[in-house]
Each structure stands twice: as C-alpha cells, then as structure tokens.
C-alpha cells in the first residue's frame, strides 16, 4: 500500500530541487548565447573592449554555471532515488533523451566551457569564438533533450504500454522528438532563458551607468542586452501563446485550470478572467473580473470553438475510470496467470488503464478488487475530482508569469529605444527599472515551471501513470533525511553564489586598463576608444 505522506514528501523534494535548479538554468541558456554575440562583435571589430566584455560576463556565467551543474546532478539521479516506479514504468522511453542529452549536449558544453575560460591565450580568435558558440549550442541542446523528455510526461507519444514488461516501451524516436508539446516547450523555455540573461546583463550594466563607472563597457553591454532581450521577449510571448494552444489540444485539464473554467465556454462572448479568486473546494469563483470576447480567440485561435470546462471534463473522465478499473484488474490477473483471456480483457480497456491506477488511491485499502458495487460511484466521484489540477495555483501562476512577460516587453522596448538614441544617462528611471528587474525573468520562469508541472497533475505521465503511484517505497525518515540535507546545503550554496555575484558585479570588469591608452594589437583595431590591451591578452 502506498504511503501518501512519502509521496507528498517526494513531490516536495522534487519540486524544491527542480525549482532551485531552474534558478540557474535560464541564465546559463541565455548568457552563453549573449557571450557568443558579444564575442562575435569582438572578432568582427577587433576592439578589445568586447573581449573584456566577453571575459567579464563569462566570469559571472561561470559562477552561475557551477551551480547549474551541481544542482543538475541532483535531478539526473532523483528519478532513480525517489521515483522508482516512474523510472521503471517509463525508463525505456524517458531515459533515452536523458542519455542522448549527455552524449550530444552536456559533453559538448562542459568540455568547451573549460576551453572558453582557460583557452584565451592558447586559441586563435576564430577558434575561441567557435568554442564559445559550441558552449551556447551545447547548453541549448541540453535543454532540447531535457524538454523532449518533459514533453513525453506531458503528452506521451512514441511509446506504448506493454503488459508483459509492465512498462511503456519505446516505439518511435521520431514521434518523441517531434512531439508538438516538446517543440513548443523547448522553444518557449530556451527563449525565456534568453530574456533572463538579457535582463541580467542589462541590469548590471545599468548599475554601472548609474554610478558613472565603466561607462564605455556598460553602454555597449546595455545596447546588446536591450536588443537581445527585446526580440527574445517578443518571441517568448508568441511562443507562450503557441504553447497555450498546444495545451488546449493536448491537455484540456491544464488549460481549463489555467483559465479557471468551471464550465465549458460559450463562444464568442466568453470573457477572459483578468482577476478572480477560484475556489477549488466549491468549484466556483468567489469573484471574477473578465474581458468579454477575449478568451475564445486567445486560446483556440477561432471565434466558434468551445473550450471544455472542469465540471464537464470530470464527467468525461467517469467512463474512463470505470473502464480503467477493469483494465487494471485484468492486468493484475494477467500478471498472475499469464492467461490469454486475461490479456484479452486487458486489451479491451487498455487505453484507460491510467485512470484505473488513479482510482487505486480512492479504493478501500488501495485495492481495486475490494471495491463493492456500492462503493463504485463514490470511488469514481473522487477519482474524477482528482483528475483536475489545483485551479488556484494554476490560475495565478499563469497570470503572474504573463504579467511579468508583458512588463519585460515594456522595459526592453524603452531600454532599447534610449540606448539606440544614446540617451540612457538622461533617463535614470529606465536604468533603475532595468536594475530592479534583474531577478524577475527568473521568477517568471519559475512560475512557468509551476504552470507546466502543476498543470500536469495528477499524472507523472499524462493519462498513464498517476503521481501517487510513481514514488519509491521509502520510509518517511529517509525523506526527512534527504530533505533536511538538501535544504541546508542548498541554502549555503545560494548564499555563496549571491555573495560572489554581488562581489564581482560590484568590482566590475577588469578596471584601470581602460584609462591608459596603448596601441592595440589585432588586425582590425583601428579605434580602441582609449581602451588598452591587457597584459594577458
């Protein structure tokens, strides 16, 4: 019998370690690409200031990267240590992208990150530029394979459940890679990383401009980051819309929870709820303010298609639950007897098996065989209710993420405009705003993660494996041990990271050299704007 406390603690631990990991990932994804862009300018113009920029932002990249790697190790092993049933159930298809990620991407990224930091004096300019591009490519390819794996959890394609091995067996690599959900997710997540990194670079540059330090350095960094961030934010909003539409087609319970739709919509009037207080217990809003006519085109990209509501989706789940219970009972029978009759009985309802597994949680003693005729409606009721994710969390996480996204668009637009006009120092408010906004894109990414993964509940593999069945059979003591350990270690880590980030951001780029003009080396460095080569260049 599954210990629900252990499941909840395992979820808590996974959520905390994943959210923590994701504090550092967006910056790695984006900053590697920004470094490549800056170094491109260095190689094109030959101006040493761009080399200083690459090295300075590269140093901050390194501080962040170390934590991304460290916390990523946890994620790679946590599926096995805490989610044994999940790993057994989908390892054949889910493990593969993780392994390919190591082979194709992480090796690339990690090998070349060493050369990127240590190889300045040992590589030619184009060779070093190529190394930087490979780091950027590697980190984004990493994200690609991880999100292909995540896409499988959201929308399981390319695999089928096999009653002989009791797990999902891989059937199509092509379907897995080109899954609609994986595609939209990767693009949205990767570009969200670009936005985070652009805000990071822009905010720290704004700090220098406000303090009138490293002005040549900061103006250039600000310009690159502002343009980088502006286009990325436009892209991230567009792609978020694509992801929403993909959810509408593939994960209806998620979209219903995001929009707080208790009932199926009536197009075209249906309002888009701007603010509301959804109450999961009563399945209604305490209050809500909406914009009429907006919701239908926003989600469905049409004026006529209805969006299924939560109460209707629960009704739709009921026959699946009844069938699923039959499927699981037949499967258990097949595991014992290996008889073709049992297998045939299972095949009849196999597509609904996941709903049967979900119903186990509400069966007497978690045993489906113990459900009497009298119990059945109650079990089905409670299971149907459980197929819907927490609406309050989903509704508000989504709105916070979205509001932040549009705020970034505004900040980047003004920043890019004033930077292009070279009027930044006359507009301290935009510099202040850029500085204060540094942590917000990462926060938005965290809310995005919550929308995606809370919206997947109650499943680990959507429609196939419920979360409560996925966890390892640990004792509560084990979980407390690891949770307390992670909390202590990760707290020390973030303290050390922030300390170093602030320290190096305050120190700024290698100082002093810019004040003493010297003839510059390099083929194209006609004008160095009073900027000197470093002795180690």
């Amino acid at each position: 019998m599954t210990n629900l406390t252990v499941v909840e603690l395992s979820r808590l631990q996974f959520a905390l370690t994943a959210l923590y990991h994701f504090l550092f990932v967006p910056l790695t994804l984006g900053l590697s690409v920004i470094l490549a862009a800056i170094e491109t300018v260095y190689v094109i113009t030959g101006k040493p200031i761009y080399k200083d920029m690459t090295q300075f932002w590269g140093k901050l990249f390194g501080i962040n990267f170390a934590l991304g790697v460290a916390t990523g190790l946890t994620m790679e092993f946590e599926f096995g240590t805490n989610w044994s049933m999940y790993s057994h159930f989908v390892g054949d298809v889910f493990g593969t992208p993780l392994a390919i990620e190591g082979l194709m991407a992480f090796f690339l990224e990690s090998t070349f990150v060493g050369l990127m930091i240590f190889g300045w004096d040992r590589l030619s300019r184009p060779a070093h530029l190529a190394v930087t591009y490979l780091v950027a490519l590697g980190s984004n390819l990493s994200a690609l394979w991880i999100l292909i794996a995540n896409g499988f959890m959201q929308y399981p394609v390319g695999a089928r459940f096999d009653p002989d091995t009791m797990r999902m067996q891989f059937t199509s690599l092509y379907d897995l890679i080109f899954s609609e959900d994986a595609q939209a997710k990767f693009v949205h997540t990767s570009i969200a990383g670009f936005v985070s990194a652009a805000m990071f670079v822009m905010g720290i540059s704004a700090y220098y401009l406000l303090n009138k330090r490293h002005r040549a350095f900061a103006a250039r960094s600000f310009r690159i980051a502002a343009l980088f961030g502006l286009i990325s934010t436009l892209a991230v909003i567009t792609l978020g819309d694509a992801l929403g539409r993909s959810d509408y087609l593939l994960q209806q319970t998620k979209i219903a929870a995001i929009e707080g739709l208790w009932h199926t919509t009536k197009p075209p009037y249906e309002p888009w709820k701007l603010v509301a207080l959804p109450d999961d217990a009563t399945q209604s809003d305490v209050f809500s303010i909406g914009l009429p006519y907006v919701l239908t085109p926003l989600v469905t990209h049409s004026f006529t298609e209805p969006i299924p509501g939560i109460i209707e989706l629960e009704q739709e789940a009921r026959p699946k639950i009844v069938n699923g219970i039959q499927a699981v009972l037949a499967l258990h029978d097949y595991a014992r007897t290996r008889s073709p009759e049992a297998l045939a009985a299972f095949r009849k309802n196999e597509d609904d098996m996941g709903y049967g597994l979900l119903a186990q949680r509400y069966a007497p003693g978690q045993d489906l065989a113990a459900i009497t005729k009298a119990d059945l409606p109650g079990v089905v009721d409670r299971t149907a209710r459980a197929t819907i994710p927490n609406v309050f969390v989903e509704f508000w996480s989504f709105r916070i993420m979205m509001a932040l996204g549009f705020a970034f668009l505004a900040v980047f637009a003004f920043a890019a405009y004033f930077s292009l006009r070279n009027r930044l120092e006359r507009q301290p408010w935009i510099l202040w705003l850029a500085m204060l906004f540094i942590p917000l894109p990462v926060l938005a990414s965290e809310f995005g993660w919550i929308v995606a993964e809370n919206g997947r509940q109650p499943w680990t593999v959507f429609g196939w494996l419920p979360t409560f069945q996925s966890a390892s059979t640990h004792s509560v003591g084990y979980l407390l041990f690891s949770l307390i350990g992670f909390a202590l270690i990760y707290t020390c880590f973030i303290a050390a990271e922030l300390y170093l980030m602030f320290k190096y951001a305050r120190i700024g780029p290698a100082t002093g050299a810019s004040e003493t003009p010297q003839p510059a080396a390099g083929p194209h460095s006609a004008d160095t704007s009073g900027y000197a080569e470093k002795p180690w260049q």
Binding site: V33, I34, A36, A37, I38, T40, V41, I44, T45, K47, Y50, N140, Y174, I177, F178, Q183, A184, F186, V187, S190, I191, F194, R215, A216, A219, R220, R223, I224, A225, A226, L227, F228, I231, S232, A235, L239, A242, A416, S419, L420, R421, N422, R423, L424, E425, R426, D527, S529
Partner: protein, 65 residues
Amino acid sequence: METFIKFVALALILALALFIAVVAGDDGPWYFAWLVGTTMIVLIAAAGAVLLETQSPSGETGSEF
C-alpha cells in the same frame, strides 16, 4: 587550392543548413523557428553594438563612449 577547399567547405555547410531547414521546416516548425530566430537575435544584438561604434558624436552622449 586553399580557396577551393574553403569553397567546398562552405558549400557543404550550406547544404547541411538547407537539409536541416527542409527537415525541420516540415516536421519541426518550432525547432526551425528557434534556429532562425536565435540567429536573428544574435545578429541584431551584434549589429546594435556595431552601430554604436559608428554612431556619430552628434549623438547626445555618443562621443563620451
């Protein structure tokens, strides 16, 4: 000879780019969008910096940089 090798190498890269574009364009429209979009983002950001180098001193604070 060296020019020729460079020419062949660039031609191969072009062919690969076209191949990726055709496959990705058909089956992975969003992947394709990412490839094109990221390239564009990098180029525009880089162009912004190059523009800053050429912006005339008549710009309000341009000469100071």
